[in-house]
Structure formats: structure tokens, C-alpha cells
Amino acid sequence: MAQYSPPKQSKASQLIDVIVLVVLTFGALFVPLWLGLAGAAKSVATPVPNPTWETLGQTPAQAAKYEALGYTPEAAHDLILARFDYSFSIGALLTMIVVILLYYVLILRFSEVEYREVISEKFGE
């Protein structure tokens, strides 16, 4: 196989490549945060008015630890009662599975094409 000679990349083109990569990175990581789609927020389903350790569901041993940490029932209210919501739709789950599988299939197929070229040039046909 004829040896492949890569073109020489100009400094400006190298700089643009770095900028593209950095912009894509920040986009992927920060856009969900900016759009408020970052998820995993806990919420208090049923607030307790005038909370006490008992109404917050705390045993004396648990309450003693909170007091040792400097909490009052009012201050610990949200911390103790907030819960995650793990409900999800099958459609969203299937979408995630399809996206991940598509991703791996894509990179494995393209990699294989590139790899055969590498091996062919390195070791000969």
C-alpha cells in the first residue's frame, strides 16, 4: 500500500481546531446546567409546619447527632425531608440505550476502517 502523507496544517488551522474542541466541550457540559436540565434535584413533597425532631421522623439518637452538628429542627427540615424522584418513562430509557449503542457502533465501525489502513501501511498487505 502507498504510504499516506498527511498535509501540513497551518498554525491558524491548528488554533481553530483547538477552539472548536473547547467550545464543543463547554457546550456539552454547561448547556444542560444553563437550561436547568441538569436534574437530580431533590424536593420536599410534604413540608412539615413547626417541625420537631419527632415530626421529622427522627429518633432521639438521630436528633442528638443533628444537634451535635449544630442543627435545629427548622434548619434541618429540608435536609431531612428532601427526596429524589426516581420515576422515569420507558421512552426516555430506550432513547438513552439507543443513543449509547449508536455511539459505540459508530466509533467501532469507523475505527475498524481506520485501523485496517494503519495495519496495512505498517505491516504491508
Binding site: 444542560p32 431533590k42 447527632k65 435536609l79
Partner: protein
């Protein structure tokens, strides 16, 4: 069998890279241990406790042990492959030789993002720690943590710039102190040496599994944090004196250390801190071992665990800068990224341009994103990398069977570890989906876009045959 021998001092698998100055071969097995454990041990000092919030204390313990199995598989697989691929870049270089360039490009990015995000998380924790110390010292106003965050990242980047031996020797010392601090806390609070203060049964009462079994699955997400980064030992491959011996020894000793540290950490923290406080790493317990020491009533333990937390964050950030820069450097050297990043400092023999380039990126995340999100970004990149590893080892064994290349280490029970690892990665993807599905899809979408960019644009600048630098025989089937 070829004449290439990874266990030989003269034919150790290093291939030509075309660089005028190479990285310095000065490290031993203890440095490899310090690099791996140093990066990870901070996971015991902060972050793992989000797993308690996800499913309760028992869920976090189950996640801790299943994640331990996952990382044991990672360490075994990694030890075999990297003891043969003795080159900077770690899994990136493995992927380049075993699966193909596009996979390698993706793996390189996983590594850089996982370590850079972990570095940002460490800096955030260090900043928090300084604010707590200020408050305990009588400072009444809220301390601005940002200067400390900047200072931590800049100082460690400077240390990395100046040389790898000093960097990892520094890591060795502070990692050992941080690990010993966990042992001392366990001995002092469990009743083995002195009065015990553990109250597991009383603190778990009524909240054994607050979310049921789905909480156990959800906890796997942050269960990874107990061990995330141990695979970074492979980044030292080009700088150890004896890769075939030092890399498997350092990596496997590292995962054993971490399994002990993780179990002790869970035991002491859940026996002292209420689960809701422990499980909220933003508004509750940012540094659980330090908080456990605070409730012990011992001033000595408070200082010890305060320094332990600080040292663990510094060691981790230090190792992350080391690893992320090696991965970025290796990609630059192969022209997967602009070749400018592939330079080695003529005096200090470090990948200095890559080290400097990644500093502002770490700073932006440390100063601009909340801790749990930063940790999630790191975990997601790590998880994608772990999913690659089973494919990597299966193809490695198929293309170069055991009798074709002499390995420094051969992992047992193949393909059982690969199948176990792939299964646990699937479970963890589901766990991430339960809380952070949007980030997961956004991140995979990002990797799809950059893969297309690489394949159709960037790859034209890469030498084809020359990037295959290992002196291996032709792979079977090609």
C-alpha cells in the same frame, strides 16, 4: 513469540515517537501506587457520600462493594494490557494499537475530561476546607473560597511543570498520610483503640433502604467515586523504570488499598453521621471523614482528618494534572490534536504545554459549576472509558493471543472479568440515567459530534502506519 519482550530492560516495548526529547524514566512501583491511590483516595474524603443520599447507607455499602468488583476488573484488565503497552497516554495508546484511531481519540478525551473534572472537584473541596478552617479559627464572615481554588490548581500545575519525580514523590508522602488518617480514625472511633462511638443500628433505624432497591441501583452512580481514577496508573507507563513490573504491582496494590479504605470510610461515617446529612454533599456533609472527626470530640482527630482531607485533595488534583496532561500530550504527539501539544520540556522533560493548556479549563469548572455536577461529568467520562475496556481486552487477546506477545502480567479467568465489567457498566449507566439522564445524553451526543469531526476532518493530519509504535507482530485476522 516475537523477539519483543516487555519484561526485558532493553526491549521493553517502547517504540519510536519521533520526538527529540523523551519523558524521563525515573519512577518505581511505589510512585505508581501513589499516582493511582493519590488520585482516588480523595473519593473517600468527599463525593462518595452522594451514594448515601441516593439510596441510604446500606445502598451505599452495596454500591461500594459492587463498584469495588467493577474496579478490580478494571485493574486486572488494565494491568495486563498496560504492562505490554509501555507508552504515555495509557488507555488512549492501548485503544490506538488494539481497536483503532477513532476509539483512541474518544478514549483520550474520556481520560482528559475525567481527570480535569476530578481536579476541579478537588479544588472545590480544598476551597471549602479552607473556609471551614477559617470559621473554626474564629473568622466570622463567609470566606471567599475562589482564591484558594485558583491557588491550589496553579501550585500543582507548577509542580507538574517542574518534573514528574518530585510531583509523584510529593504524592507518595501526602497520600500515605491521608490513608493513615483513615486507619487512625477507624481505630479511634470503632472501639478498637479507645471508646467506640459507632451507632449504626440507631442511626439506620427506620431508614435502612429509604428508596427501596431502586435506591441501591441509583447509588451505583456515586459508588464509582470510591475508586474513580485508579486506571490512571497507566499514564506513568513511559516514565517508570520497569513497566512490566511496576505497573501491575502498583495498580493491583492500589486497588487493594482502596477496597480497604472505602470499606473503613463507609463504616466510620455511617456510624456517626445521620444518613440525610451524610448523603447531601452540597448542603450537608461536604467532607464526611472530617465531619466524623468533628463529632468524635477529639481535637487531635479533627486536625488529623483536616490535614488528611487537604492532602487527599492535593494528591488527587496533583495526579489528575499529571494524567490529563499525559493523555493530551500523547494525542498531540500523534497529531490527533495539534502537534504543538506534543512537546516535551527540554529541561524538565515534562509535557509542559499540555499541563499549562488544561489549567484554565480546570479553573472554569472549579469556579463555575456545582460539586455534584462536576463529579457527574467526571464519572460519566470514566464510565464511558470502563465500557471500552472489556472490548479492548477481548480484542487484545484475539489479535495477540498469549503465545504471541509476552505480557508482564496475565490476568486470570478471561473473559469473566470483561463480562462482569461490561454488566456492571450497564447497571451504572442506568443509575446515572435515574438522576442525570440529560447530562448523559448530552455527553454522548458531544462524543458523537467530535467523533464525526475527527473522522472526517482531523484524522487527515495523522500519519497512518507511523502511529502504530509498539514492536508487535501483525495482529491476527488482518
Amino acid at each position: 513469540m516475537t523477539n519483543f519482550d516487555i519484561t526485558s530492560k532493553t526491549m521493553d516495548g517502547m517504540g519510536p515517537h519521533g520526538t527529540k526529547v523523551g519523558l524521563l524514566r525515573v519512577l518505581g512501583p511505589t510512585h505508581v501506587w501513589a499516582l493511582g491511590v493519590g488520585i482516588v483516595l480523595v473519593g473517600e474524603y468527599m463525593g462518595w457520600n452522594f451514594a448515601v443520599g441516593k439510596g441510604g447507607a446500606y445502598a451505599a455499602l452495596i454500591a461500594c462493594w459492587f463498584a469495588g468488583i467493577l474496579y478490580t476488573c478494571v485493574a486486572m484488565i488494565d494491568s495486563e494490557v498496560t504492562s505490554t503497552v509501555a507508552s504515555a497516554g495509557g488507555q488512549y495508546t492501548q485503544a490506538k494499537h488494539i481497536i483503532g484511531p477513532l476509539m483512541a481519540f474518544n478514549v483520550g478525551l474520556y481520560l482528559v475530561f475525567a481527570y480535569t473534572m476530578l481536579e476541579a472537584a478537588n479544588a472545590i473541596t480544598a476551597g471549602y476546607l479552607f473556609s471551614v478552617v477559617a470559621t473554626m479559627s474564629g473568622y466570622e464572615a463567609a470566606l471567599d473560597q475562589r482564591p484558594f481554588i485558583v491557588l491550589v490548581i496553579m501550585f500543582l500545575a507548577w509542580l507538574n511543570y517542574r518534573g514528574v519525580l518530585a510531583t509523584l514523590t510529593f504524592n507518595l508522602v501526602i497520600t500515605a498520610i491521608a490513608f493513615l488518617a483513615i486507619i487512625v480514625l477507624f481505630l479511634a472511633t470503632s472501639g478498637i483503640a479507645g471508646g467506640g462511638i459507632m451507632e449504626h443500628a440507631a442511626l439506620f433505624e427506620g431508614y435502612e433502604l429509604p428508596y427501596g432497591w431502586i435506591g441501591v441501583l441509583a447509588a451505583m452512580h456515586f459508588g464509582l467515586w470510591f475508586y474513580l481514577g485508579i486506571e490512571g496508573t497507566t499514564q506513568a507507563a513511559e516514565e517508570v523504570r520497569s513497566p512490566a513490573r511496576a505497573l501491575p504491582f502498583g495498580t493491583l496494590a492500589g486497588i487493594m488499598t482502596l477496597l480497604i479504605a472505602a470499606s473503613l470510610t463507609w463504616y466510620v461515617s455511617t456510624g456517626v453521621l445521620p444518613w440525610e446529612f451524610l448523603g447531601d454533599g452540597v448542603n450537608g456533609s461536604v467532607a464526611p471523614l472530617f465531619d466524623t472527626a468533628r463529632l468524635s470530640g477529639s481535637t487531635g482527630l479533627i486536625w488529623l482528618l483536616g490535614f488528611g482531607t487537604l492532602f487527599a485533595t492535593l494528591a488527587s488534583a496533583n495526579g489528575c494534572i499529571n494524567d490529563a496532561s499525559r493523555a493530551w500530550f500523547a494525542m498531540g504527539r500523534d497529531k490527533y490534536l495539534p502537534g504543538w501539544f506534543g512537546a516535551v520540556h527540554p529541561k524538565y522533560r515534562t509535557p509542559y504545554r499540555s499541563i499549562v493548556f488544561l489549567v484554565p479549563i480546570a479553573l472554569i469548572f472549579a469556579l463555575g459549576a456545582p460539586l455534584d455536577q462536576v463529579i457527574t461529568f467526571s464519572i460519566l467520562s470514566g464510565l464511558l472509558g470502563y465500557t471500552f475496556m472489556p472490548l479492548n481486552i477481548i480484542l487484545f487477546r484475539r489479535k495477540w493471543p498469549l503465545n504471541s506477545i509476552k505480557r508482564g502480567y496475565e490476568h486470570p479467568f478471561h473473559p469473566l472479568p470483561a463480562i462482569t465489567l461490561l454488566t456492571l457498566c450497564g447497571v451504572t449507566f442506568f443509575a446515572v440515567f435515574l438522576g442525570y439522564g440529560t447530562q448523559l445524553v448530552a455527553m454522548v451526543g458531544f462524543y458523537i459530534v467530535v467523533s464525526l469531526w475527527f473522522h472526517f476532518w482531523r484524522y487527515r493530519f495523522v500519519n497512518r502506519g507511523a502511529q502504530f509504535t509498539m514492536p508487535w507482530p501483525k495482529p491476527r485476522g488482518y
